[in-house]
């Protein structure tokens, strides 16, 4: 097979960061080439260079044998390079067709003419099995279809090379299979695909070759058939990675947390939470699996007092906590590691020291009446920073300047140190480097071993499966089933996440 695209010695520098360091990548016509690496390895940057969003500091790009300069997305699109972004670039208030033609709008004497475009969209949609309605507004169609609109955007512009950036993050395992089928059709028709991901299992399923990036450098390109998950993980991280967390055997106590029949309606009048019920015992981690957007966020918000439930029951050691204020719930010793640390867990322009008392700032020892007690605050920070390995070790630094992993550690330090009885951790290792992930997992298990109740919500199945004692699966606001961790397989969970019920005999 001929190489349709070659990126040679690409280097991209930002102030203070070498995002891409002499990276080589070649793409053969009709292949699916996976680009893997951790967060911050440089995958997105490399593709942004290809797509013309950035200009490389050094290096050349060859397309169909010719050296090129790609000055912007328009150039890339004209050449036939299409990008399906991880975070969809769709305008919600406009229709599918309007989104697809945006930037190259067909017009007749100044007036928008959509009819031809709509026809072309319909025929492309049929040809590739995309099943998209051109006249629907983006905000009204489901996420899976939105992604297909993104693919259509590229195909509409006659893309020959498609870059898919973390496409499966928002799909159920079944929708992922659907995507794989579409990718097959595309490559059969001669399109070439670059598939960016950090999920090793997918890579092994779908790709022909794999290039691994680590800290901006290319570690190597391998044929998929020649490699394994372990080898890839090692290449990604640079050392042997233990993919499982060590856990003491379970020692459950009595029921600590009771949740019954939680009902929450969302702004569209539909049920975000539909009679959700579960219990958690002392010393137990209950994992909540599910594709994002199936009610997990709302569940955590209700349990932490950030959202009102319409009805239901929530008790911690017999104390009724439903619809109490966030402050009361905190006082009842419920700790919350939020899923969006920038939005919720930290005041980014406060120092580490100030953030370490957030939510507890009005009580002793941090305050006497309305006066802040700076000595206590300093002691607190100086104890927690080394304990939880927060770097840099300076309590005055603003939280904003820390890495994602260290920011997360501030939150964990604060919440864990308060001695919670019930810990709610939502996507606790998202965007966190592997070293910090191990640390955070250890701490969560520690809480469990101390007899606390832990609710772990995560979109990473591997995290759920390795940490949880039992696993609940959420789909469309309901708990579809709760499995013992020992019985849970990826396949079973995948089916549940997509809404089917599992008969263990099958």
């Amino acid at each position: 097979m001929e190489a349709i695209l070659e990126m040679k010695s690409i280097t991209k520098e930002f102030p203070g960061v070498l995002a891409n360091d002499n990276v080589n990548l070649d793409l053969k016509k009709g292949e699916v080439h996976a680009l893997v690496g951790e967060n911050g390895a440089g995958k997105s940057t490399l593709m942004s260079v290809l797509f013309g969003i950035y200009q490389p500091t050094k290096g050349k790009i060859f397309y169909k044998g010719e050296e090129l300069k790609i000055d912007g997305p328009n150039d890339a699109i004209d050449l036939g390079i299409g990008m399906v972004h991880q975070h969809f670039m769709l305008v919600h208030t406009l229709t599918v067709a309007e989104n697809i033609i945006l930037g190259s709008e067909p017009s007749d004497k100044g007036r928008l003419k959509l009819s031809n475009a709509i026809d072309k969209i319909k025929s492309l949609s049929d040809e590739y099995g995309l099943n998209v309605n051109p006249n629907a507004k983006i905000k009204d169609i489901p996420v899976g279809m939105q992604q297909r609109v993104e693919i259509l955007k590229a195909l509409y512009r006659d893309a020959e090379v498609l870059i898919l950036d973390e496409p499966t993050a928002v799909l159920t395992p079944q929708e992922v299979k659907g995507l794989y089928k579409i990718m097959d059709t595309l490559t059969e028709q001669g399109k070439s695909i670059i598939f960016i991901t950090h999920k090793l299992k997918e890579v092994l399923t779908v790709s022909d070759r794999i290039t691994v990036l680590r800290k901006g450098k290319s570690i190597g390109t391998v044929n998929t058939t020649d490699t394994s998950e372990t080898q890839l993980a090692e290449m990604m991280v640079g050392r042997k990675v233990i993919l499982k967390v060590e856990k003491k055997p379970a020692n459950f106590g009595s029921i600590k947390v009771e949740v019954k029949d939680l009902k929450v309606s969302n702004t569209r009048g539909m049920l975000a939470l539909d009679n959700v019920s579960f219990d958690i015992r002392e010393g137990e981690i209950l994992g909540v699996a599910g594709v994002e957007g199936n009610g997990q966020t709302e569940l955590v918000e209700v349990l932490t007092g950030l959202r009102k439930a319409d009805s239901g029951l929530f008790k911690l050691e017999g104390q009724k906590l439903l619809n109490q204020s966030a402050r009361k719930i905190k006082e009842a010793k419920v700790a919350h590691v939020p899923e969006d640390r920038h939005k919720h867990g930290l005041v980014l322009d406060y120092s580490i020291e100030d953030n370490l008392i957030l939510g507890y700032h009005y009580k002793k020892p941090f305050a006497k009446g309305i006066n802040l007690d700076f000595n206590s605050m300093a002691e607190h920070a100086e104890r927690l920073i080394p304990d939880y390995d927060i770097r840099p070790r300076n309590k005055e630094i603003l939280a904003r300047s820390l890495s994602g992993g260290n920011q997360q550690k501030i939150i964990i330090a604060r919440e864990f140190d308060m001695g919670p009885e019930f810990l709610i951790a939502s996507q606790p290792t998202r965007g966190v480097d592997i070293g910090a992930i191990e640390f955070i997992h250890k701490r969560i298990v520690e809480q469990r071993d101390q007899g606390k109740a832990v609710l772990l919500v995560s979109a990473e199945l591997s995290e759920i499966m390795s940490l949880s004692d039992r696993i609940a699966v959420m789909y469309e606001g309901r708990i579809v089933d709760i499995l013992d961790a020992s019985e849970a397989t990826e396949e079973k969970l995948g089916l549940l996440m997509a809404g089917s019920t599992v008969k263990s005999e099958e």
């Binding site: 969003i53 912007g72 328009n74 699109i77 990008m83 208030t93 989104n99 945006l102 955007k153």
Partner: protein, 298 residues
């Protein structure tokens, strides 16, 4: 009942229209700006500046039409300041708006002094002629509303404006120059606000008076929000506010009701507040409104 007749008659209708025009044209200007993602609370200052420039130009050239043209051009230039400061230099858009209002307020009085040696009121100038019962600015204003509706919803430019205001990164990812669109829209808002100001100074009257816009720029903003950022919505809201402004004058003449004139003066402002309070919850501005666009930021 007599009061009823005093209020709902032909004269009131024409007053309403006259009062509504500056509101609706300025509101449309604000619409383009906000739809593209740039908050513009300087409509007041741009209107005032336009009113002033119209009088100055009319004074020196003897032509009210040139005055109108000058107001439109200068309004655009004045808005360019807001555009540059907000778009290029990422200033807080509300603060920039406040600064421009101050600049207009101080600048107009300053120049009033320098040019005409008065403080408060300019000399009388040639005003726009009547075209039938109304001044040209009234007809042109209505035309502007129609054209704006067409542009926003039936042209590629309008589509891009709407995209840029809702999801600038999406627009950027298909090669649209987000900053350029925003510049155009902000300048347009200044031009339209300038037009609105000219209607006040050389349309309705034939002079410039210090502070003559008296908060209309803000009422226009309220009309825009009330009209949910749609041209015809803004027009409807403007007519409503214009109506209340028209009868305020009428009611003042009927002090027999016993309400002090000063209380009646407050009606438009109170109405605006009520409109804002009532409308919120259903009205959502363009999603990217007020945030500077940074390329490459996810």
């Amino acid at each position: 009942m007599e009061i009823f007749q005093q209020i709902f008659n032909l004269e009131t209708f024409s007053s309403t229209l006259r009062m509504a025009i500056p509101l609706m044209v300025a509101a449309i200007g604000g619409m383009f700006s906000e739809r593209s993602g740039v908050v513009n609370i300087a409509l007041e200052g741009m209107m005032l500046a336009g009113a002033f420039v119209a009088v100055v130009a009319s004074y020196f050239t003897g032509s009210a039409w040139l005055g109108l043209l000058a107001a439109v051009i200068f309004g655009g230039l004045f808005a360019l300041i807001h555009a540059v400061v907000s778009i290029r230099y990422h200033a807080d858009q509300v603060v920039s708006g406040v600064a421009l209002n101050l600049l207009a307020a101080g600048g107009t009085v300053f120049l009033l002094n320098i040019l005409f040696n008065t403080s408060g009121t300019s000399p009388s100038v040639n005003a726009l002629p009547y075209w039938g019962p109304f001044k040209p600015t009234v007809y042109l204003g209505l035309l502007i509303v129609l054209i704006s509706h067409y542009v926003l919803f039936y042209t590629p430019f309008g589509l891009r404006v709407r995209a840029v205001g809702e999801h600038p990164h999406a627009a950027d990812s298909v090669g649209i120059d987000v900053e350029k669109i925003r510049y155009v829209c902000v300048i347009l808002s200044g031009m339209l606000a300038g037009f609105a100001g000219a209607h006040l100074s050389i349309g309705v009257l034939s002079i410039f008076r210090e502070g003559m816009t008296a908060g209309r720029g803000f009422i226009a903003l309220a009309a825009l929000i009330f009209g949910k950022w749609y041209p015809f919505g803004a027009m409807g809201a403007s007519l409503l506010f214009g109506f209340f402004q028209a009868i305020e004058i009428r009611l003042q003449g009927i002090e027999a009701i016993g309400i002090p004139a000063e209380f009646i003066q407050t009606i438009p402002y109170i109405l605006t507040i009520i409109a804002l309070a009532g409308v919120i919850g259903r009205a959502t501005p363009p999603a990217a409104s007020g945030e500077p666009f940074e390329k490459g930021k996810r």
